[in-house]
């Protein structure tokens, strides 16, 4: 559906050209929800704007629904208004001089010249989809943040575009509304079966909504995978850090025994079942998620190998307890069920669920 190949764009700054998007390629199948995830300045928004046609890439090719909309080789650049792509902006970009109805009707009246008798019907349908059907006559400035968000979404989908682009649409909402809108957004996308590209720096949003997530850094795509794989099998330190606050323990890969891998660390030896990177003898990171660490008062209770440790600090968060555990000069985070309760200073035994841990590449190793 959407094919991006070798996309390249740089910006001139006072310090010379900066590569905003550095030869990236990806494909989004029909009806899929695809997220570009990364810290600010990683090139995700520029990528999105190149797809939209609002920014002009220097090299590469972009195809939407089989049609080339940009190609540096063939010298094709279709202007944004001819691409039939819907887009929701970070600021929502609701036109303050029009009411709710007119905002949504604009793409139909201007973009497609839909006969007048259908405009009303289509606008009502789009407004109903986002539950704004009763607010058509409201001035657009007179809406709450969540309503403006819905309005922007209705406007983007009203003319049934081939592709929907979302540029950090939830970043201006408060947390509760954000959760709600996340579900809404996904529902609308699924109802319409719209191929969607979503740009965000929030891993929760990316993981919860997407079919596929592309993690970006410094203009490049680091990893493209389904959310579960991204979370459980990050390919390197950057992804592991960015996605899940994983505990990363530096060490050396010493042996491969059967289906497991042994990592020697200054704090002891660890075993795990997954190898993303490295060969025997190389410096690696041992990645373990907070929820894959278990705490016991007695080593004999544990099924997995582990280390003696001390509880430094804990915060009770309702559904779970967040512990900071120290092993020598190493501090690890563990997230455990509230039924297991220790106090700060308690000696504990921690164990790693080795089948859920992995060996990954460090950024500087």
């Amino acid at each position: 559906m959407l094919v991006v190949q070798n996309l390249y764009k740089s910006f001139a700054t006072d310090f010379g050209a900066v590569k905003a998007v550095d030869r990236i390629s990806f494909e989004v199948p029909q009806g899929a929800f695809f997220s570009l995830l990364g810290p600010s300045g990683c090139g995700k928004t520029t990528t999105l704007r190149c797809i939209a046609g609002l920014d002009r890439p220097e090299q590469g090719e972009i195809k939407v629904d089989g049609a080339v909309v940009f190609s540096s080789n063939q010298k094709i650049l279709i202007p944004p208004h001819q691409r039939n792509i819907g887009m929701v902006f970070q600021s929502y970009a609701i036109w303050p001089h029009m009411n709710v109805f007119d905002n949504v009707a604009f793409p139909l009246r201007i973009g497609q010249k839909v006969p007048r008798r259908y405009v009303n019907e289509k606008v009502q349908k789009a407004l109903a989809l986002v539950h704004l059907e009763d607010l058509g006559n409201r001035p657009a400035t007179n809406l709450s943040g969540g309503q403006q968000q819905r309005l922007a979404l209705a406007r983007a989908v009203v003319r049934e575009p081939k592709l929907l682009l979302l540029d950090e649409p939830l970043s201006n909402l408060d947390a509760k509304l954000r959760d709600e809108m996340r579900i809404e957004l996904k529902r609308v996308q699924r109802t319409l079966g719209l191929t969607t590209v979503y740009v965000t720096h929030d891993q929760t949003e990316a993981l919860s909504m997407s079919d596929t997530v592309a993690v970006m850094n410094n203009g490049r795509i680091i990893q493209v995978d389904e959310p579960k794989r991204i979370y459980e099998h990050p390919v390197n330190q950057f992804v592991a850090d960015f996605i899940g606050a994983a505990n990363l323990i530096p060490g050396t890969l010493v042996a491969t025994n059967g289906d497991g891998f042994v990592v020697e660390t200054p704090y002891g030896t660890l075993e795990c079942a997954n190898l993303e990177h490295g060969k025997t003898g190389s410096k690696v990171l041992f990645a373990v998620k907070p929820e894959d660490i278990q705490l016991f008062s007695n080593p004999s209770e544990s099924l997995f190998p582990g280390w003696p440790a001390t509880v430094e600090q804990l915060s009770f968060l309702g559904g779970f307890v967040d512990y900071r555990i120290s092993v020598g000069d190493l501090t690890l985070r563990a997230r455990v069920h509230p039924s297991i309760y220790f106090r700060a200073g308690d000696k504990v035994h921690l164990s790693f669920q080795s089948h859920r841990c992995s060996v990954i590449a460090g950024d500087n190793l």
């Binding site: 970009a93 303050p96 604009f106 973009g111 943040g145 403006q148």
Partner: protein
């Protein structure tokens, strides 16, 4: 303007006469025919224009920007200085620049106040060098012109430097903004005084004009004088046919020039700010170029140009339309640029994504959102065109007289009564037009 001379003139200025009577003084206290008098009148005349100019950007500023300053511990005055004023900097600077430039090249007040008082400024020197004596002295006049252009260009240079980082100053976003009123609290008296001062300064000379317009000859207001009240001045002022013709000409020229200028400049401003066409800086520089030409110089230049060019507009009112458009394009741009800078780019981009080509985006999104600035600019240019004297003096011909020329002639011939009556009528007409426009702009402008 002439109202102030009637108020503060050393011989029979109304305020002077009153103060003399009150304190039994021999000499007049105020003399308008001085440097101070000139500065005062010039300043007062520019105040409403500056106000108009400043109102639009401040009106559309997001109040949370100020409120976050209060919450950071800044007093009202401090947050006004550090936030409001600095956010409004592009607008404030552009107004400052315009006022400076206009004051440097002002001709009318120096001509009416300065020349009788023997105080010369560059523009009056140029005018006198060209218009008095046996032959026009082009040499000295050009030299003065160059000096003038230097000062004006300096102002322009500073301005362009200061606004280079204009990106920072987006204040209208797609999010709802709700400007809030400030509770002035104990400052109520002071602010009320300030707010009232402006109208008083403006109304006083109007009143004295009104007074002299209904008297056959000028005397200070008294009970006896009331009995002599007559409307004869109005009848005689409008008796001559060229007065009505001039009125029609003035309105026509001003409306056409203002409309054409705002249309042209809104497109130019968009090209300069939003597009990345090569050479997009050119229109603004060109437009600023005419800004650095004083009216006197511009008047002569236009006169010579259209005498030579095979465009048959010389001797018609169209030469004045062309002249005013040329003259006021820079002002139009100065209105449009800040207005456009305050519109978040995403508002346009979302229209593009909705399938609107450039022309439609401009017509349906940019123009309506710029309406407050466009309206303000239109009124400004309209009023300037109606009042404009210098260029008109040089370019008018018998069929194409305009109001300002008629008033100047009446002053020259000492027909104070006719002049007062005519001025009062003009003011009424202008106020009506401005009020109608204000209403319109409320309807079509941003509903804030």
């Amino acid at each position: 303007m002439i109202g102030w001379i009637l108020l503060l003139g050393p011989e029979n200025g109304l305020i002077n006469v009153w103060i003399k009577d009150l304190f039994g003084l021999e000499k007049s206290v105020f003399n308008i025919f001085t440097m101070t008098g000139m500065i005062f009148v010039e300043g007062v005349l520019w105040t409403p224009v500056v106000f108009l100019f400043m109102a639009a950007p401040f009106r559309s500023m997001d109040p949370s920007l100020e409120e976050s300053a209060y919450m950071s511990g800044a007093s009202v005055a401090k947050s006004f200085y550090h936030i409001t004023l600095k956010l409004g900097l592009p607008s404030v600077l552009s107004v400052l620049l315009l006022t400076f430039v206009r004051a440097v090249e002002a001709f009318e007040i120096p001509a009416l106040v300065g020349i009788p008082g023997g105080i010369m400024v560059l523009t009056t020197e140029i005018y006198l060098k060209l218009k008095t004596g046996l032959l026009p002295q082009y040499g000295p006049a050009s030299a003065y012109g160059v000096v003038l252009i230097f000062f004006v260009s300096l102002g322009l240079y500073l301005y362009s430097n200061a606004t280079r980082q204009a990106q920072k100053f987006y204040t209208i976003t797609g999010k709802g903004f709700r400007p809030r009123l400030l509770d002035v609290g104990k400052w109520r008296c002071a602010t009320t005084g300030l707010v009232l001062l402006l109208p008083i300064l403006l109304v006083l000379p109007m009143l004295v004009l009104l007074w002299s317009s209904i008297l056959p000859y000028y005397v200070k207001p008294s009970r006896e004088a009331l009995s002599a009240v007559t409307f004869a001045n109005y009848v005689s002022a409008f008796h001559s046919s060229n007065v009505l013709g001039a009125l029609k000409n003035s309105l026509f020229i001003s409306i056409v020039s203002a409309t054409a200028t705002m249309l042209l400049t809104s497109i130019t401003a968009w090209l300069v700010i939003r597009s990345n066409i090569r050479g997009r800086w050119l229109p603004e520089q060109l437009a600023s170029f005419t800004l650095s030409f004083p009216s006197v110089v511009l008047g002569v230049a236009l006169l010579l140009t259209y005498l030579k060019l095979p465009v048959p507009i010389y001797g018609t009112i169209w030469i004045l339309v062309v002249a005013y458009i040329t003259r006021y394009i820079p002002y139009g741009i100065r209105y449009c640029s800040p207005g456009l800078l305050q519109i978040n780019k995403e508002l346009e981009e979302s229209a593009q994504m909705s399938g609107a080509p450039w022309g439609v985006v401009f017509r349906k999104i940019v123009v309506p959102l710029m309406m407050p600035s466009l309206f303000a600019g239109w009124i400004y240019i309209f009023l300037l065109s109606v009042r404009e004297l210098t260029v008109a003096l040089m370019l008018y011909s018998p069929g194409s007289q305009v109001i300002s020329v008629i008033i100047f002639e009446m002053w020259d011939f000492g027909k104070t009564g006719d002049l007062a009556a005519f001025s009062v009528s003009i003011c009424l007409i202008l106020v009506t037009i401005a009020a109608m426009f204000h209403k319109l702009s409320k309807r079509y402008g941003l509903q804030i």
